[in-house]
């Protein structure tokens, strides 16, 4: 019990201090935290939580990057071992809903819509189990998947369904399930990126993995109110802190510049000249690849 409380205090300190930092330096660092009372973290407004959950990057962006880098699709990256019928707790169900959502995004982006039907069925089963099935537009997604008609509509309905579930959970005092779903999405996206970079080393992809440092605190903030909830949450919070620890010495620096704008085809194009630069050693990247795989594998096997 003492251990759990200590863990919760650490996470709240770290998370909240990041939210309030206004660093003027040209390097992104995890802020030092020593002055924010724990109770402040508990007072995060629903708007702040909604803001954080909307802000977490979409797995579709990772899949888009993989396509740009011409990385071939692989079924082996998917969480195929998840059995929707064997999820015993709401913790497991919400987490798996997030993991499967990320897989669905990956399948959709690669237009592997035939393979997505199994994932869709699992998502529907789990969503119904936690009483949010009404927000998942299964029939439309299935129809669009079968027809391979309009990828953009498919992405929209899929993401929109998840957003509706997220809004509903947060609005009905089930914020812990919303947080789990978002963590699940992120971990699976991170797993996908790290597995690919392991197989197809690429600087752009490695940088994207390193840049996740920017949103790690937000993820911690999201789950911090629940770290003391039960042993499953305590364990997940510890896992997230372990991931954060691997990011501690990765540096993100910025170069200055002014955006350049061009009018084209009735629209405006802005090219940013300011850049972010990730400094990460091979050992640091390997440590992230390893810890992500260990945690993700543990989560999908924990039926």
């Amino acid at each position: 019990m003492k251990g759990r409380v200590f863990l919760l205090v650490i996470i709240m300190f770290i998370g909240f201090s990041c939210r309030n930092s206004k660093s003027k330096t040209s390097e992104f660092v995890f802020p030092q935290s020593d002055s924010v009372p724990v109770s402040e973290a508990e007072k995060l407004s629903p708007e702040a939580i909604a803001d954080i959950s909307k802000n977490i990057s979409s797995p579709v962006e990772i899949a888009n990057l993989l396509q740009t880098l011409q990385v071939p699709f692989s079924q082996s990256y998917l969480a195929g071992s998840i059995d929707a019928n064997r999820q015993s707790t709401n913790f497991n169900k919400a987490l798996k809903l997030g993991i499967l959502g990320a897989d669905l995004g990956y399948l959709n982006m690669y237009e592997k819509t035939g393979s997505s039907l199994d994932v869709l069925s699992s998502i529907r089963k789990i969503a119904e189990d936690i009483k949010v099935g009404q927000f998942f537009d299964f029939e439309s997604i299935k129809r669009l998947s079968k027809n391979k008609s309009n990828l953009d509509s498919l992405l929209f309905i899929s993401i929109d369904s998840y957003n509706k579930i997220d809004n509903y959970l947060r609005g009905n005092d089930r914020g812990q399930l919303s947080a789990l779903m978002i963590i699940g999405v992120w971990i699976e996206g991170q797993y996908l990126a790290t597995q690919v970079v392991n197989q197809y080393p690429d600087k752009i992809l490695a940088d994207r993995i390193g840049e996740q440092k920017i949103i790690l605190n937000d993820l911690l903030l999201l789950i911090s109110p629940y770290c003391n909830h039960d042993s499953e949450f305590t364990s997940l919070c510890k896992d997230m802190l372990d991931i954060k620890d691997k990011y501690r010495d990765i540096r993100i620096t910025y170069t200055q510049g002014n955006p350049v704008s061009v009018e084209k085809d009735g629209g405006l194009t802005i090219k940013q000249t300011e850049t972010s630069v990730v400094t990460m050693s091979e050992d640091q990247l390997n440590a992230i690849i390893e810890i992500t795989k260990n945690i993700r594998d543990k989560l999908i096997l924990n039926n």
């Binding site: 909307k54 802000n55 888009n64 953009d152 940088d207 920017i214 084209k264 940013q272 300011e274």
Partner: protein
């Protein structure tokens, strides 16, 4: 007859409530008009009354944008909107990166493409031109 109407009304209400699947047509229409090479990421539904002052854009949200990604921000207005939806994006140091409204010419762009080179959390703000009352949607997509 009365009974039938009541039953129909109840069925209709129940149908709407139980489906939970009403997607705003303004959003879906806007998504389908973002372009063939655009991939939907998220949307922001904006409904604002007339502004008391016009110092700042009123609707604000944060969003992580990633280096080496080209984003498209599309703005769509509802028919009854009094003003046109405009967008401004600031970085974490509060520096404006882009605006869909050109203050020099008074021109408003219906979409802005942004070639991001600095990963980070950005503040995305929307309002209607001249602080007018309006209803609209901002769609964020990736460009392939």
């Amino acid at each position: 007859m009365k009974k039938t109407i009541v039953t129909l009304a109840l069925l209709f209400t129940f149908g709407l409530l139980s489906s939970g699947q009403v997607t705003d047509p303004l959003i879906s229409n806007c998504v389908t008009n973002t372009g063939a090479n655009a991939r939907y990421l998220k949307d922001f539904r904006i409904q604002l009354g007339k502004a008391v002052s016009q110092n700042e854009l009123r609707y604000k949200a944060n969003m992580s944008l990633w280096k080496n990604t080209k984003y498209r921000f599309t703005m769509c207005n509802a028919e009854n909107s009094k003003g046109q939806l405009i967008l401004s994006i600031k970085d974490d140091s509060n520096k404006e990166i882009l605006s869909s409204f050109d203050k020099n010419t008074g021109k408003t762009f219906s979409f802005v493409d942004f070639e991001c080179q600095k990963s980070g959390i950005y503040q995305i703000s929307y309002d209607f031109a001249n602080g007018q009352q309006g209803s609209g949607v901002g769609v964020v997509s990736m460009i392939k």
